[in-house]
Symmetry: C2
Subunit: 328 residues, 2 copies
């Protein structure tokens, strides 16, 4: 049986349970009230739309809920901050069944509670077409203040956490509806459906004094390009240094794809790109390693005039104009 | 010429201008950073979808931007708070023209700046269908703390600011595409297209010690019903006390409509409903009057067992189940 708006809100409130520390007013009023120690609050909002960001042929509802929240929390991680609470604006094209709401909100809460982040409010309405979610995340900056995109300097080293392109490769498998590949490359599919924001890495990198940071949401090329644009610098990335997983390389070999393009253009890896003064770079890498987080140097920040380039065996490519733009 | 995602963001950033007080990081990074004195932050989010909440046949783009922001700010007003900053998640079904973005963001900024509220961040993407906006508003509660929905007590008087039903009547005119009515009842059309959140009234009512408060977004009946449900009380509203404007009564007479139903079910008036102990009610009304804000007593809070009823010349009607629910 499908639910009314009021029944959906009642169910979400019931699933969210008792509010945790900091929450003074939770779901059920005109606005939520949260107490942020210190008063400096990071705020970010991100929407995902059925048919644009996900398809219900390849995502189950709990993956959708998980991913919408993970993407928002990743923006807080990319500033070196801690997520505190989230708001969810949820729109359905038609009245949902109770189990559909349970599955979606189950994914939302699974992700958010794994980050100690409370669901404190939101909105439920009808959309013009399919399912749509907007997640707002409020968080607390690290003591040293947030790490911005605009702080990179000429000579800084460029690093990334983990491996890139897994999400793009996972999407390739999902779009091909290939159950065999899906069974054989579960890590790649998982990195597309259930990315894990790098909160701890962001905090460690902020403490290690990195100069600029951003999460990989659009792809290494456009995201690094954002850092260079905001910092008014150029960069040089060495293609062979970009970390790619063994699974990704195996899949690329098997299907005849260019593995690097998943990293450059695929996006949605939610790893962190960061820049650091050469004298601090190894300290940053070591701080991560102490917590079992791998990271690699992929290039160097250059003067603005040098542009943003990728160095491959065969020459140089411009990093500008590569990667996902919703309207390009 | 249509804009890319990056060009849309650049244009919005340019239009938003220099960040005001409290804004430490504005548009252009992974998240915004705002400094809230005191650290207690009100948070709310609301979405509007083309074809559901508005039609571009009757709204111009700047009205859409205005109304999306006004609805969010009204939630802060309904807690007795002050809005501080907003985030906008903006989705287009197709790549927009520069003038289309300018018009929409013009409306967003016109409304938000009239409330001293800065646009500090957001998101731009493609939607599954038409235009969609999600506005998140962060604000500061009043010194006495926020006024919640759950504080009404048996015997409290129920008041509302301004007049109700104007937005519903305005929508009636717009939906009938009647240029003559539109020219003759501009106030009604304006209250639908460009509602003004009651920030000052909310603050004055909070200071006057009202026990519960909510804004009229779904209609007097469901919104008052929310207060009663959260407060675990009943209520009795006297139909003849519900404030209706002369314009609304004139239109209803002319088109043969029931004027009260616009007030009960129309919604989107963004006036405030409040409850106060009988000994404080006149103080609250007088505090508003001193600032030129009209308000009226419309009924009384009853014991839970009494239900939520509307008293008319012909008898009693249940207020439950009346009013807009997206999936009812």
């Amino acid at each position: 049986m499908s639910l009314t708006e009021l029944e959906i809100i009642t169910l979400i409130r019931e699933m969210a349970g008792e509010p945790g520390p900091g929450v003074e007013v939770a779901i059920g009023d005109d606005a939520a009230l949260f107490h942020f120690t210190g008063g400096r609050v990071l705020l970010t909002t991100d929407s995902i739309y059925e048919g644009v960001h996900f398809s219900l042929d390849t995502f189950n509802l709990s993956d959708v809920g998980w991913k919408a929240v993970a993407a928002g929390i990743s923006d807080i991680a990319a500033m070196g901050g801690e997520p505190s609470c989230i708001l969810l604006s949820l729109a359905y094209g038609r009245a949902p069944e109770s189990e559909e709401v349970r599955a979606l909100i189950g994914g939302v809460l699974e992700m958010s509670s794994s980050c100690n982040c409370a669901l404190v409010g939101g909105d439920v309405c009808r959309s013009g077409a399919g399912l749509a979610l907007t997640v707002t995340v409020a968080g607390t900056p690290s003591q040293g203040g947030p790490v911005l995109r605009g702080g990179a300097n000429e000579g800084d080293r460029i690093g990334v956490t983990g491996a890139l392109g897994g999400s793009g490769a996972g999407l390739f498998i999902l779009n091909n509806r290939d159950d065999d590949l899906r069974a054989r490359f579960p890590e790649l599919v998982e990195s597309h459906l259930r990315p894990r924001p790098r909160i701890q890495a962001g905090r460690l990198l902020a403490a290690a004094g990195v100069t600029a940071m951003e999460d990989v949401s659009d792809g290494l090329a456009p995201d690094l390009y954002h850092i260079c644009a905001e910092s008014e610098v150029g960069c040089e990335v060495e293609a062979e240094l970009v970390p790619l997983s063994d699974e990704l390389l195996a899949l690329a070999g098997e299907v005849g794809a260019e593995p690097l393009s998943w990293a450059l253009e695929g996006g949605e890896d939610y790893e962190l790109i960061f820049t650091a003064h050469p004298g601090h770079f190894n300290k940053a890498i070591n701080a991560l390693a102490l917590h079992g987080i791998t990271a690699a140097r992929i290039g160097t920040i250059k003067a603005a005039g040098a542009g943003c380039t990728l160095l491959t065996e065969t020459g140089r490519t411009d990093l500008g104009g590569i990667g996902y733009d919703h309207f390009a």
